[in-house]
Assembly symmetry: C2
Amino acid sequence: MEFLRLAKREEVYLNYFTLFKPLGTEKVSIFEAFRRFVARDILSPEDVPPFPRSTVDGYALIAKDTFGASISSPSILRLVGEVKMAEEPHKKLESGEAMRIWTGGWLPEGADAVLMLENSSLNGELLEVYKPVAPGENILKIGDDVKKGEVIVKKGFPIRSQEMAILQTLGILEVEVHRRPRVIIIPTGNELAEPWQELRPGKIRESNSISILSLIKDYSEKVERHPIVPDDWQSIKSVIKRNLAAYDLLLLSGGSSKGVGDLVTSVIEDFEGGEIIYHGVSISPGKPTIFARIKEKPIIGLPGHPVSSFVATYLFALPLIKYLQGDLNFKPDHLGFLELGTDIPSKPGREEWIRVKREGNKLTPIYSESGVISSLVKADGLVRIPENVEGYHQGELVEFYPV
Amino acid sequence: MEFLRLAKREEVYLNYFTLFKPLGTEKVSIFEAFRRFVARDILSPEDVPPFPRSTVDGYALIAKDTFGASISSPSILRLVGEVKMAEEPHKKLESGEAMRIWTGGWLPEGADAVLMLENSSLNGELLEVYKPVAPGENILKIGDDVKKGEVIVKKGFPIRSQEMAILQTLGILEVEVHRRPRVIIIPTGNELAEPWQELRPGKIRESNSISILSLIKDYSEKVERHPIVPDDWQSIKSVIKRNLAAYDLLLLSGGSSKGVGDLVTSVIEDFEGGEIIYHGVSISPGKPTIFARIKEKPIIGLPGHPVSSFVATYLFALPLIKYLQGDLNFKPDHLGFLELGTDIPSKPGREEWIRVKREGNKLTPIYSESGVISSLVKADGLVRIPENVEGYHQGELVEFYPV
């Protein structure tokens, strides 16, 4: 295979991803909305809380009445009743008065603060206050959490656990999200055998597809795996042709044998509207990845070596799947820095993704060929070495991408 | 509520979790094994690769024959054939000979290295070698990836994408894993209303359960949500009684109203074998969490404030669910360090979990009451401030827990 011009990773996001439009939108129940991406800003239809609430158990009062209070010289207030939970209080509080209130209770009119139980003592109707409270203390005013009309989830952002809760708090039980892609994984390679069949000498069991599938499943409407396709032009052509319409994304999972990449590019170019955008990326592992399209349909050709396949799926296939459903933050991002336990050398001129083992807060690189799948099993994550960096030294903090 | 003695977080893991045994095991298909925890060491039944393979396209040869080769003084070898993909080569290579071979091809007997295509030129049957290769170069010997009998996935470790691939490579299509817990979430609180009903004044919509559910779903066999239960002793008692047998874990999700915690502890203690292990943890938010059991069944009482509920689910409910299925690394762990954009003060004497917004590699704290759910929606993660630390300064690197 020749790689006349290797694309940089960012170029793939910039020039290839943007050839495709995010998929259409659909309304889904909040119960089905987890990990989906919001198709338009969601505005709050109401204030939260809808009434002023106490955030503690104590006494609703007028803060001014407690100014200067201390244990030696308490303020004395008159207890005039109790705010029952889940009920609107019907009495207006006057200066010198207090009402018993519970966490979540509705602050009576006139009151502007709540005194915590432990800073007082009650003798009959007389409440001794030992500590001043400030206006607004221990209460949430109407709209303090969310204001009516405020954007609560922005277009292009995901619905996580906390978004589910706030939507339900607001009574929003249906949301408009982008459709998730239907994906087909097509393994190709003459040396590959179906894992459930007896292994003939010289063959190896196909296993990249199950790893690709589990990496993308959470973000796809469905992921189908096609039976292994032999490395011949006509077989690959007819499989692509048959499946092009029913899926939003085709992932060709290459065997590692001779010229699969060139075969795939030649087949794609034979389609009307077939175009190879990039063949080869300046990353390692993952270099021989193919980015193509047939008209509006994206096709990624993933490398055959298991580590390369994994890295290319992580850096390109999953991000494209997120991009296709409107995710504005589709690019892989590290989740923090950890310390290197040893030096890592790197050749400049390509971005390297090094498998690492994590022990405590230290990372150790795992070196091996990209055909060695056990190296990925030993890894807890990847470390990125940018194109222009000649490796890192022991003790340096590096970007950690858990996988 | 009184918290006579607050447990430390580690005490909960050490003294409460260990009261329970991991659930039984079951055999599942590899296709259902993603995110499951392996119940016993999985050993490799065979060597990978099962035959010596080339990792590049090139020429199989005897390394010694190339020693000293250069462009000005190439070694000359005789091409004696080609190794066909997915076939066993039947010719033994002799000194002075080379065979064409492809990535993944079976190295012929006698050969001990592969020369990359680009370091040679072929004239008829004569191969000019321009660069010496070392013995073992560009090949994987039998068992170089995985040796027969080697442990490939350890007991108590999860099956990730890479484990799925290696298992399939080895033809292991079924694995023994621990059963995942069946969980019921029981929301309690008089001030709570079902989100799909019209909201009466003074009530708020119940929303903690959907956030708890989405946090634990990936690791549970099933998660059911019970309708809201009123804050009375008899109702709570009968709901627990009715559901105790059918679930492996009961999560009571408290309202924020008066004395729900005390009510729950009193009900649990009324059961035969009912025991409160801890009522209150020295963390913030999340302090009023209850850890209990009725005989062998764990019950966690989660706080009513939405942020406290979220943090307690993240720190205790999800880890317990993982512990119950044999996960040896069930404790929440940060995924790296990021820099603080501003100071964060903290009261010593309790572990604080601060909501933070991430911008690039900088974190900014989000301060608000634990009743303010929008603060969690604005957050990208949590930062832990240990019990004995009086806050962090701007520019310090802190543990980042994405949520």
